[in-house]
């Protein structure tokens, strides 16, 4: 039993930290650390820097251009990057569709898509949810009908994150409607430039445009874009959900946010004294910090089990529930810390380039929108209630 990193792991951490320090563009790090809005160019720029170093796909096998790092190395990498203020890697390509193509795709698909995911040449989005199919995902209705060497796709996806920027979408579509609802689903890769696709923004109540509706009107998709076998898509979707999930707790990011929270609470004053000295506020911060310690060790336990050959299945749901609890708790406390200063609503100031005058401490401006925005984390990726269903069935056997 030893909670310390080994000498090799420490050397690895130094290596990653050195690289990040040297190559992470300061203007991107500042946006992240000041909670400002990141554009596609920021995200892709960082991803291409990692790509140039060969670090874009830590979990992929070497033969596909990955790093084949151990679970602990991946954790260290995530943590070092998060601490420095690197943007999170957009997961849809490298963490989601990539592994599915690797395992279930044919040689042509692997050759065509995997390098373009690594280089961020293709920006991917995920076509899962539909207006009538949220938690009950398998009830999805978007249809794909085979016509010669094409599928003709009709229907609608929703909550599609970054569809406005995406070159490709991986979609669950219905190719059969008899039998069990899970049985008639197929996994299709669709070019977002295809005629018949319309993307309509959904503005969330924090004022952001992250998610979209995506409409498919007689979209013709070549049959070679089918992954695996027709009507086996649900199996691939489930595989995707069980892959690379320990990062889901986002411990590194939350540790960084905790540090920022303490900084803010040291700046904000109550009765002329730093807010962080107020016992009532301080206790909340302390409790959150302790929760985060507990989550981190739980993640490390899961990683150790993975290293020993037990990849996390439903255990990842526990990490998702607690991880998102903490992310939300942090945004909540940050807004609480700045009190009145959180009220000014100046969306233009969320970008890194705004040169206008501030009405409150600059760090306070994005915090309200961030608090509102983060309500999403307990909803996306399977609501935390669905995660509890998963734990209940798969771990507890209820």
């Amino acid at each position: 039993m030893d909670l310390n990193y080994s000498a090799e792991e420490l050397a690895f951490r130094d290596d990653v930290a050195g690289f990040v320090k040297q190559h992470l563009p300061m203007e991107i790090a500042n946006k992240v650390l000041e909670h400002k809005r990141l554009g596609k160019d920021d995200m892709v720029r960082w991803q291409q820097i990692l790509y140039a170093r060969g670090w874009m796909a830590p979990a992929w096998p070497l033969e596909y251009g990955g790093c084949a790092w151990s679970p602990v190395q991946r954790h260290i990498f995530d943590e070092v990057c998060a601490e420095a203020g690197a943007p999170s890697i957009v997961p849809f390509g490298v963490s989601m569709v990539g592994p599915v193509i690797m395992v279930f795709g044919n040689p042509e698909q692997k050759q065509r898509y995997l390098p373009r995911i690594l280089s961020s040449e293709d920006f991917w989005c995920q076509g899962y949810s539909e207006p009538g199919s949220g938690s009950d995902l398998a009830s999805l209705k978007t249809r794909a009908v085979r016509e010669g060497d094409h599928y003709v796709v009709n229907g609608q996806k929703t909550w599609t994150t970054f569809a406005q920027w995406a070159d490709m979408i991986f979609c669950l579509v219905r190719t059969a409607s008899d039998g069990k609802k899970q049985d008639g689903i197929s996994f299709l890769l669709i070019d977002m430039q295809s005629p018949g696709i319309t993307v309509r923004p959904i503005i969330t109540f924090d004022g952001e445009h992250e998610v979209n509706e995506v409409f498919f009107d007689n979209v013709r998709v070549p049959v070679e874009n089918l992954i695996g076998e027709e009507s086996r898509g649900w199996t691939y979707a489930k595989f995707l959900l069980s892959h690379e999930r320990t990062g889901i707790a986002a411990v590194g990011r939350s540790k960084r946010e905790l540090r920022l929270l303490k900084q803010i609470a040291a700046q904000e004053l109550k009765d002329g004294k730093p807010l962080i000295e107020d016992p009532r506020f301080r206790d909340k911060v302390a409790r959150l910090e302790i929760d985060l310690m507990a989550l981190e060790i739980t993640v490390l336990r899961t990683l150790a089990a993975e290293k020993a050959g037990h990849p996390p299945g439903p255990e990842a749901s526990i990490l998702k529930i607690k991880g998102t609890d903490m992310q939300q708790g942090l945004t909540d406390l940050m807004l609480e810390a700045v009190a009145y200063s959180g009220l000014p609503h100046l969306p233009m100031a969320w970008s890194g380039h705004w040169l206008g005058e501030h009405v409150a401490p600059e760090y306070a401006l994005p915090l309200a929108a961030r608090y509102f925005n983060f309500r999403k984390v307990s909803i996306y990726g399977g609501t935390n209630e669905i995660q509890r269903n998963i734990v209940s069935q798969m771990i507890l056997g209820l």
Binding site: M1, D2, L3, N4, Y5, S6, E9, V72, K262, Q263, I264, A265, A266, Q267, I276, R282, D283, A286, R287, E289, I290, D291, M293, A294, L295, I297, T298, L300, R301, L303, A304, A308, I318, I321, K322, L346, G356, E357, H358, V359, A360, P361, E362, Y363, E385, R388, N389, V391, S392, I395, L396, G397, L398
Partner: protein
């Protein structure tokens, strides 16, 4: 990083578990709780035979030379089976204290007697006005013609009545609350001037109120360096806290298992109640709290032996705080999910809950350790530039 146990540690864990599984049923425990002694001499002897009582003593004093991890493994098992014997006070708290601060003669004489089961110890430290402040000791010891004379009162001394020897904290300098000036003494409870009242506690164990009125003891009774007892006490209490965390995790493990079993077997509305989502989600939350607690108990066990006081304090206090919260939730909800049955004296559920409740109080509850945790952190905040402009302008 490594979460595995050595072969020796696994053996230790398995042997305790096997013994308790076979010989320490809830019914047997009930008989012990109702008895006058509040423990079983036979179980105690078996603990000695298994090497558990010598867990802490170094090999040259007849012990196993165990540390935080070994303590955790044993205490988890004791928690799973709700053991009431004075194991923690004797074999963990006092054995650690003697091993850490005792002189060669004290160690040579006492540690083997702990290991073979012939001597039991109690820590007579807590006082009515101190609550959880370790340094708040009013009991005094002063020198009188080459002897020490102790006066004062100790409250809720765990397993005080069965102890063959007490370890007493007393002030030799300074005032209550000072870390400096605290000293530790061995006191034979049979000495004239020592009075005790023995009573049961709600968790099935026993404690005592002990008063010291002009109790004369020899100079060889001092443990460690005079006036410098506090750091020793603090280190020993941290190891005790880590042990309590592990015991709580053991209790929670049993509560998880029994409650889950109940959800699968208890039928209402024609189905097992575990089919109801409201109860499923509650059960998941119970399980999650257990996992968080388990992680923190590991952290405490790993750091408990550290001589880096601040790092140790931060880890151990964080663990005790988090586990106190987890224990309250798991205990309360285990009863809730058992419905009326959970309220009965007959089922073990309520008894595990009671032990968890006592553990939260032991050596500082969650609130106390939240404070300790915060004090231990060097919360060095880097200043963030504040840009406030005073002119009114429309934006």
């Amino acid at each position: 990083m490594d979460f595995s146990y050595t072969e020796e540690q696994s053996l230790l864990r398995d042997s305790v578990e096997r013994y308790l599984e076979k010989n320490y049923s809830f019914e047997q425990r009930r008989t012990l709780v109702e008895g006058r002694e509040g423990m079983s001499a036979q179980v105690w002897q078996e603990f000695a035979n298994l090497g558990l009582l010598g867990l802490i003593a170094s090999a040259d004093h007849g012990g196993y030379g165990g540390g935080g991890i070994e303590t955790m493994l044993v205490m988890e098992a004791l928690g799973r089976h709700l053991v009431i014997e004075p194991y923690l006070t004797t074999a963990i708290t006092c054995a650690n204290l003697i091993q850490m601060a005792g002189d060669e003669a004290q160690k040579r004489i006492l540690l083997p007697q702990i290991a073979d089961g012939s001597m039991k110890f109690a820590l007579a430290h807590s006082e009515r006005s101190a609550r959880f402040n370790l340094a708040y000791v009013e009991t005094t010891a002063h020198e009188e013609s080459g002897e020490w004379v102790i006066n004062g009162a100790k409250s809720v001394v765990q397993h005080g009545a069965v102890a063959d020897l007490l370890i007493v904290s007393a002030r030799t300098k300074g005032k209550p609350g000072d870390a400096q000036g605290l000293s530790l003494f061995f006191v034979n409870p049979a000495e004239p001037g020592v009075e005790g009242r023995d009573y049961p506690t709600y968790d099935g164990m026993r404690a005592a109120e002990v008063t010291f009125k002009n109790v004369h003891i020899g100079p060889e009774s001092v443990i460690g360096v005079l006036d410098r007892g506090f750091p020793v006490l603090e280190a020993v209490v941290d190891r005790t806290l880590a042990a309590l965390c592990a015991e709580a995790v053991g209790c929670m493990e049993t509560l998880n298992r029994q409650t889950l079993e109940y959800l699968k077997t208890r039928q209402q509305f024609g189905v097992p109640i575990g089919k109801f989502q409201a109860l499923q989600h509650r059960m998941v939350d119970i399980r999650i709290e257990y996992e968080m607690a388990k992680s923190m108990a590991i952290l405490a066990a790993v750091k408990a032996d550290s001589e880096e006081v601040v790092e140790r304090r931060r880890a151990v206090s964080a663990a005790k705080e988090r586990i106190g919260r987890a224990a309250r939730f798991v205990g309360q909800q285990a009863i809730q999910l058992h419905g009326g049955m959970g309220m009965t004296n007959e089922l073990p559920i309520g008894h595990y809950f009671k032990r968890l409740t006592a553990i939260d109080t032991a050596f500082g509850n969650s609130d106390h350790h939240l404070d300790q945790f915060w004090l231990a952190q060097a919360a060095q905040a880097t200043p963030v530039p504040v840009r406030l402009k005073s002119k009114w302008k429309q934006i």
